[in-house]
């Protein structure tokens, strides 16, 4: 198992935020965590990434507890795409992407780093942004540059399994950019990267995920293949909303319709 969380508990000022949450992500699959606002999605991602330590339970990456991983070794195999980056200093996009290679200092040559950066920008179709100044980019362009950065960070070397965590990556993106981003996450999963994304939109999640996990009030309400999880009953309970679930007219994937 690439990423495994067992019985995570987290509380803030005596208020329980997560309780008894267990999850696992394998290499080559896309797991999407959905849930309403305040369900604890962001906290869960912080726990899974090691930015926060759980009050109870454990997170392991590649069989080894997160806390025992040297930061740089972990960073070479696991990257986290943030909701939005607060970078306001005038770095060029290519410098932002090159930052993703920080953890490879000493294990990779400068020439190789540059080549990786070039290919990462190409992979997200952002070569033309390379020389632009980051704070002047639009929301969609910034997210693409950030995606190139995390891609450069976990660029394959030596065939070890890699993991990408996405924290509500479609916030501030328009419809076409949302789909573009998830198509990309899907492609990465098809290339044996383990991908875990936290999303607001169940329909978007259903179109691209292998498995869904529904988080509500700090618990995993349901978890499994899309068709088993995305039911009228589960979504109704999680979101407190009356919905109808119908197959997508082209792909047959279940989709929600509010009543």
């Amino acid at each position: 198992m690439l990423l495994e969380a067992r019985a995570l508990r987290f509380a803030r000022r005596d208020r329980s935020i997560l309780d008894g949450v267990s999850l696992a992500v394998e290499a080559g699959e896309l797991l999407v965590v959905i849930g309403p606002n305040g369900a604890g999605k962001s906290t869960l991602l912080h726990l899974l990434s090691g930015a926060l330590a759980p009050a109870d339970g454990e997170v392991a990456f590649d069989g080894q507890p997160l806390g025992t991983w040297p930061r740089a070794a972990l960073a070479r195999r696991r990257a986290v795409l943030p909701q939005s980056s607060e970078l306001s200093f005038p770095f060029r996009a290519v410098e932002v992407v090159l930052m993703g290679r920080s953890a490879h200092a000493g294990t990779s040559s400068q020439a190789h780093d540059r080549e990786v950066v070039r290919q990462a920008l190409e992979a997200v179709d952002a070569q033309h942004l390379a020389e632009r100044v980051y704070p002047t980019l639009s929301g969609g362009e910034r997210q693409r540059v950030q995606l190139a950065r995390v891609l450069a960070q976990i660029w394959p070397h030596g065939g070890e399994a890699r993991l990408l965590l996405l924290d509500e990556p479609t916030n501030n993106l328009d419809l076409s950019h949302q789909h573009q981003l998830l198509r990309f996450a899907r492609r990465l999963a098809d290339r044996e990267v383990g991908v875990l994304a936290v999303l607001h939109d169940p329909n978007l999640a259903a179109l691209y995920a292998d498995r869904l996990a529904v988080l509500a009030e700090g618990h995993i309400l349901s978890e499994g293949p899309v068709a088993e999880v995305l039911t009228e009953e589960t979504v109704g309970r999680a979101f407190g909303l009356d919905v109808a679930v119908r197959p997508h007219p082209l792909s047959g994937t279940p989709q929600l319709f509010t009543i």
Binding site: H46, S49, G50, A51, R71, A72, A73, L74, A75, R76, R78, A79, V80, P82, S85, E86, L87, S88, F89, P90, F91, R92, V94, E95, M99, G100, S102, A103, A105, R114, V117, R118, L121, Q127, A130, E131, P135, Q153
Partner: protein
């Protein structure tokens, strides 16, 4: 491949700028040693230095000139280089740590905090029965200023940071509060002190490079030089910190360790500077900005460039301070604030125009 050639051009420009700054520093140093009440040509300055180093004189010079250069101008110029470099690098590193280009050691209260604890040593040290004198006091002063600077840096950081984010407004307001409290403390010390202590204290508030001796310089020099040079090694993690603390963590940096290092190194550099020269404002703010405007925000270029430009600008500022109102001397802090204040305002207006806040 356009991206790579642009990178090469950028790297070449950075190298050229660093070389240019180094040359500028040497020129400013020779001018600073040569110009004053007694004027000494740059070639003669070189000759005096060469003779002192045992290389033999290059041109004829008078013994009086050699005395002026070696015992008055040279320690003072060295002090200007050290203080300018320390303040500018500390400013640049702190701006990286706070992810905010307005984090100046003077602005957020670190210099005043250091000055307050140095002032305490002067006034109370003089009043104690076993009056602190000579070298003991000279050694204790940088230490006290360092502790004061460290305490304030830590305080401001704790107040302004929450959940890995630093709030600009909180940071600046904390700076105002700390400046006010430390200013009041210094005022109280002025009220309670005798004439000699009063003159000393006045010097802290306005800043001056005057009266430095080789002894005092050699004690404080490592406290300024070592942290300024050590900070150069933090360029990469400081770059990562600009993305946010969590981001830097996920990029593979030991963020907590880097933060502690930046705080300690900056407090050391600023504390030691303040102990020798009093509060010299705006160097830590203006210099990194001038560098960023031309070389961009990358700390690998920013830190060494700020080090050299800070040293150069303080040499030139001291040159003006010594010569504008001969035979008297302007406190250098007044001069840097005269230039730095309007620059700061211009910066605020410019940022508002760009809508970056």
């Amino acid at each position: 491949m356009p991206a790579v050639t642009a990178d090469d051009r950028h790297a070449a420009r950075v190298r050229l700028a660093l070389l240019g700054l180094a040359a500028l520093l040497v020129v400013a140093f020779l001018l600073s040693v040569g110009i004053g009440a007694v004027r000494i040509a740059p070639l003669e300055v070189l000759s005096i230095l060469a003779e002192r180093l045992g290389l033999g004189p290059l041109v004829a010079h008078e013994p009086m000139e050699a005395a002026v250069v070696l015992s008055i101008r040279l320690p003072r110029a060295c002090l200007a280089v050290l203080v300018g470099a320390a303040l500018a690098v500390a400013g640049a590193a702190m701006q990286g740590l706070f992810r905010n280009p307005l984090a100046d050691p003077g602005l957020i209260g670190i210099s005043t905090g250091a000055a307050l604890s140095a002032a305490l040593v002067i006034v109370l040290g003089g009043a104690l029965p076993l009056a602190l004198t000579g070298l003991l006091r000279d050694a204790l002063l940088p230490l006290a200023a360092f502790v004061g600077g460290l305490a304030v840096t830590w305080l401001v950081y704790r107040i302004a940071s929450r959940d890995g984010r630093t709030e600009v407004a909180t940071m600046l307001l904390a700076g105002i509060a700390i400046n006010a409290v430390a200013g009041a403390g210094i005022g109280l010390l002025i009220f309670a002190s005798d004439d000699q202590a009063l003159r000393d204290l006045n010097f802290w508030l306005l800043g001056s490079l005057g009266g430095v001796t080789w002894d005092r310089l050699l004690i404080a020099a490592p406290f300024m030089l070592a942290p300024a040079l050590a900070a150069l090694w933090l360029a990469r993690p400081l770059n990562a910190l600009l993305f946010g603390e969590t981001e830097a963590l996920h990029l593979g940096f030991e963020v907590e360790r880097v933060k502690r290092l930046v705080v300690v190194l900056s407090a050391l550099a600023v504390g030691a500077s303040v102990a020798l020269t009093g509060v010299i404002g705006f160097v830590g703010l203006v210099v990194p900005h001038l560098v960023r405007l031309t070389l961009g925000p990358d700390h690998r270029a920013l830190l060494p460039a700020a080090l050299m430009l800070g040293a150069t600008l303080l040499l030139l500022a001291d040159l003006l301070a010594r010569n504008l109102v001969l035979p008297a001397e302007l406190p250098i802090g007044i001069l840097t604030s005269c230039v730095g204040g309007p620059f700061f305002l211009w910066l605020l207006l410019r940022r508002r125009g760009l809508g970056l806040w």
